[in-house]
């Protein structure tokens, strides 16, 4: 269906007719009642208006709507004209209004008309003195300590000349010149300079009306130089503290919603204590399993056999658990850790198996060393000591590598936990 069919209207360039047709249809297609139908109607209306504007009454001609950027400049230009030139008082645009009570405005006109003539000075105007604000800008730009502090830039606005559009345009232009020079220096990576942050730029844009007077600025600056202005959308330039402006009341209790939101937890490398505990728990379980197997098989209770069985049990248990959907051995499960690949996705089978193997080797090595060293002296303390040693080695190793152990590094895996 073309937009004209939706509107039940012959293709036309008459805005009035389009609006009338739309209004008529709208009253039986209320947005509250049927949102789908309304959407179709509204889109048809917009398209019809566009067609009428560009003189293409044929809506089948699927012309792209004109680009926003282009439009913006047109509007900006008109706005500029309206702001700068000040046509003789509020005249011609007011007339079409019907039914406006003419009494009220007179009161205000006394105040406004007082202001208007002074702005309406003719071209032979004195050059605008912008030295005050410019000095402030220069001072800020030369101080690497202060140049990024928005609150210091705010000093600029304590000058009511800014309310005058001529001053705004002139001073904004002068400031822009300084800023662009500074940014150029910063881009060349001079040590003292860091590029200005966006909130400062956005603030200066608002103050100096750079985007508003974009076209005027083009006579002096290149388009590429000014391109950065289009990245400033939505940048915060003023931020009020929580509870700002509240009057009265007792204690104010801060509770940020953001905190609640972010408790959609973030993932971190598991820290020392979590991993230590996890390892400890796993070892105890593995030791239990080892002893159990030893008893079942009726083997002699030798330290070597117990140790080796424990290590085998450990590797089997952790591997199988880490391959499961828990992605964690029992100990890790209890301490809230899990094993992932370097992209925080679930690790592949191969990696997990390798991980188990490497862990097993490390443990076995520690165990063997432990046996040799402590065999004579601490035989009676059982298999505990070698385990303690191996834990010690792993734990000492952790912080030095950004919480990665040997097996993590060899097998491209990570142990992570979720914290707020």
């Amino acid at each position: 269906m073309t937009c004209w069919e939706v509107l039940e209207l012959e293709a036309t360039e008459d805005f009035r007719a389009i609006k009338r047709a739309y209004a008529k249809k709208l009253k039986i297609t209320r947005p509250d009642d049927d949102s789908k139908a309304f959407e179709i109607l509204h889109n048809a209306y917009k398209e019809a208006l566009r067609c009428a504007e560009y003189g293409i009454a044929d809506a089948n001609n699927d012309d792209e709507p004109l680009e926003f950027g282009g439009n913006l400049d047109v509007v900006a230009e008109q706005l500029t004209e309206a702001l700068v030139s000040f046509p003789e008082g509020p005249t011609q645009h007011q007339e079409p209004v019907t039914g406006v009570n003419p009494v009220e405005p007179i009161v205000i006109s006394a105040q406004v008309s007082g202001e208007l003539p002074e702005v309406q000075e003719e071209p032979t105007r004195e050059p605008i003195d912008t030295s005050g604000p410019l000095d402030t800008v220069r001072n800020l730009l030369t101080s690497s300590m202060n140049v990024h502090k928005l609150e210091l830039w705010r000093k600029l606005e304590q000058d009511d000349r800014w309310l005058d559009e001529d001053f705004r345009l002139a001073c904004g232009r002068d400031i822009l010149r300084l800023i662009l020079d500074y940014q150029k220096l910063a881009t060349e990576k001079k040590r003292r300079y860091r590029r200005l942050n966006k909130s400062v730029l956005a603030y200066l844009d608002q103050l100096g009306g750079w985007r508003l007077y974009f076209d005027d600025l083009l006579d002096e600056f290149d388009y590429e130089e000014l391109e950065f202005l289009y990245e400033l959308d939505g940048e915060q330039t003023s931020q009020q503290a929580d509870g700002y402006g509240i009057k009265g009341g007792g204690n104010f209790q801060r509770r940020t919603k953001e905190a609640a939101q972010n408790s959609a937890m973030k993932t971190y490398n598991a820290d020392l204590s979590s991993r230590g505990f996890a390892f400890g728990i796993d070892c105890v379980i593995a030791l239990g399993l080892g002893v159990l197997v030893e008893t079942l098989l009726g083997l002699d209770y030798t330290l070597e056999a117990a140790g080796n069985l424990t290590i085998v049990a450990y590797v089997l248990m952790t591997c199988s658990m880490e391959l499961s959907r828990f992605q964690a051995s029992l100990g890790k499960l209890i301490t809230g850790c899990r094993v992932t690949d370097n992209g925080l996705q679930r690790a592949r089978v191969y990696n997990v198996l390798m991980r188990g193997l490497v862990t097993g080797l490390i443990l076995w090595f520690a165990w063997a060393v432990g046996l040799v060293v402590f065999d004579q002296y601490l035989f009676k303390a059982g298999g505990v000591w070698p385990l303690v040693i191996s834990v010690g080695i792993l734990l000492l190793y952790l912080p030095a590598t950004g919480y990665k152990t040997l097996q993590d590094i060899f097998t491209n895996t990570l142990v992570v936990e979720e914290r707020t």
Binding site: R20, Y22, A23, L26, K27, R30, P31, S35, E39, H42, V75, Q78, L79, A82, F86, G89, P90, H93, Q94, P96, V97, T98, G99, V100, N101, E104, I108, Q111, V112, E115, E157, D159, D160, L163, Q206, L207, L212, E231, D233, G234, Q236, Q240, D242, G243, G245, I246, K247, G248, G249, G250, N251, F252, Q253, R254, R255, T256, K257, A260, Q261, G343
Partner: protein, 564 residues
């Protein structure tokens, strides 16, 4: 079923209904259309709202609170007496008080309402407002944007056609809407605003400058001192529009300060604020894609637009005189009443249709296509100032090999990075394993008239769909919490209406006693004591007469030109 139209303002609130083909504003128990949005507690179980609480805010700031609308949509709590309340709960008291007034005035029970919110309120703040209505026992049928409401009242009264710019500066927020009116259609083209720019900010600027000039540390002043200062400067601010420059007299930090507030001083102080007026105006006009010369009229709404400085600035910007033929304090409530009538499907409004826009862009987060490790970029699906209801679909592709799920955050805002926008929720969809870019999902955002956002994600390879309705903002109350909150609030009662009047007079007397010095203070103190004696005797006839006398007596000291 009558629906109540409510303007829940930062400083003042008002309400009205659609009756017999016209909007009717509802007076409160003191006979005023405006109820100050101030809430206080008195003793253990009594709650005070409005004028009484506003008076007591000066004498007893710990137990009364104002301007809490600024906290809407957060979980911050303000202490009041022994309890702590969120802004939502405090607002619900104001709504309850308005509801009581309406029920007394109309003689019927009210359970539905249309509430106005600043056009630039975000989703969280809108949900908080809705929740406040529910806590007050009102089902909120529609949230209407304040400038839209005002334009509606104007549209009905002036019958003008063409494009209007509505500038709405209330106590706490500044909104700009570009609205076209033709053949009974009110079409909002664009809205923009600043949620921290209103009469209260002008007052705050005055307070800061005043303290600075007299070298007084803010921390050295008690809460009560601060409130007194606010009070006298507020009066001065209002008097500035009058013929004589007002003079402030106040005893602060053991000094009697007398200070003449001149227009020049005021203008220097508020320049930064007036500069901020420009940005939303420029943005709204840019977004509406209209020419400034095509604007029929600039309408002023909200109490703060009475400031001569504001009118001058706007007058220069548009090079025309802005108009405010309807009472700027009440016009939003009038518009809300019209919307209530529309919602009731009143026949007299059959010829009126309103279409509004969503003021913020809504979208999701995506990764950089060139470099998938860079994430957190904002992809707007519904651009700001799109007419609602609306929906939009966008196809997104996986960025990693064997990706098993797509996680989409839902955000509101204009920044390129989602981290700087408002987080509304998230939706997960499972996708089959495949090479990066081979799997795609269709994401559809649908936004309806009530500001309800629905997100559908369709996995294209297997046709599975996932759906999420952002009804409850994160951190807001669940069903159980709501019930708990209900109970807690219900335990707090309003005073009976006949007692309310006495309380109001007493609180007013106490406030004036505090504000005045010397002989005047002694006289007020004496009269206050006399009135208390009459109340103690509990003779209704005597009380009625004393009320009248005392009220007239206080009138001569009270200069409050704005409150009717």
């Amino acid at each position: 079923m009558t629906i109540l139209g409510i303007d829940l303002g930062t400083t003042n609130s008002a309400c009205g209904v659609w009756r017999d083909g016209a909007e009717t504003l509802i007076p409160n128990s003191q006979g005023n259309f405006l109820t100050p949005s101030v809430v206080g507690v008195d003793g253990k179980t009594n709650i005070l709202v409005g004028k009484t609480a506003a008076n007591r805010l000066v004498t007893n700031p710990e137990n009364n609170v104002a301007v809490f609308k600024r906290l809407m949509g957060t979980d911050h709590r303000v202490g009041l007496g022994k309890e702590k309340f969120t802004a939502t709960e405090l607002s619900s008291f104001v709504l309850r008080s308005l509801k009581n007034d309406a029920e007394a005035f109309l003689g019927e029970e009210i359970s539905e309402a249309v509430i106005s919110v600043p056009a630039y309120f975000n989703d969280n703040q809108r949900h908080a407002t809705k929740l406040a209505g529910e806590l007050a026992g009102l089902k909120v049928q529609r949230l209407i944007n304040e400038p839209t409401a005002a334009a509606m009242a104007y549209g009905l009264h002036e019958k003008g056609e063409g494009i209007f710019v509505v500038l709405d500066m209330g106590g706490g927020t500044f909104d700009v809407s570009v609205i076209e009116y033709f053949d009974g259609v009110m079409e909002v083209h664009a809205s923009a605003g600043d949620n921290f720019l209103g009469g209260e900010d002008f007052l705050e600027a005055m307070v800061v400058a005043f303290l600075d000039e007299h070298k007084i540390e803010r921390e050295a002043l008690s809460k009560q001192d601060m409130q007194r200062l606010y009070e006298v400067l507020e009066q001065a601010k209002r008097a500035l529009s009058g013929p004589q420059p007002p003079c402030v007299e106040i005893e602060l930090a053991e000094n009697n300060i007398s200070y003449e507030v001149s227009a020049g001083w005021f203008s220097r102080i508020v320049t930064p604020l007036l500069l901020r007026v420009r940005n939303p105006i420029e943005q709204a006009i840019r977004d509406a894609d209209i020419q400034v010369t095509k604007i029929e009229e600039v309408l002023l709404v909200g109490g703060a637009t009475r400031m001569a400085m504001f009118r001058n600035t706007v007058g220069r910007l548009f090079s025309r005189i802005p108009s405010s033929t309807l009472d700027p304090d009440l016009v939003v409530a009038m518009g809300a009443a019209v919307q209530a009538g529309l919602k009731e499907k009143d026949q007299s409004l059959d010829d009126i249709v309103l279409t509004d826009v969503c003021p913020y862009s809504l979208g999701t987060d995506i990764a950089d296509a060139e470099d998938p490790t860079k994430i957190g970029f904002f992809l707007p699906l519904i651009e700001r100032n799109t007419t609602v209801p609306t929906s939009h679909v966008e196809t997104l592709y996986t960025v990693q090999d064997n990706q098993t799920a797509v996680q989409l955050g839902i955000y509101q805002g204009e920044n390129r990075l989602v981290a700087k926008n408002v987080f509304l929720g998230a939706i997960d969809a499972k996708v089959p394993k495949n090479k990066a870019g081979r799997e795609s999902v269709d994401v559809r955002f649908s936004y309806d008239m009530n500001g309800l956002l629905e997100v559908d994600v369709k996995v294209n390879s297997n046709g599975k769909t996932y759906k999420k309705v952002i009804e409850q903002s994160p951190g807001s109350l669940t069903g159980k919490e709501l019930e708990k909150s209900h109970k807690r609030l219900a335990a707090l009662k309003f005073h009976p209406r006949e007692v309310e009047k006495n309380l109001e007079l007493l609180s007013r007397g106490e406030r004036l006693y505090l504000l005045h010095l010397g002989g005047t203070r002694t006289v007020i103190g004496k009269q206050l004591a006399a009135f208390e004696n009459v109340l103690d005797r509990q003779n209704q006839r005597e009380i009625d007469r004393a009320q009248q006398d005392f009220s007239m007596f206080l009138d001569q000291f009270d200069q409050e030109p704005l409150l009717p």
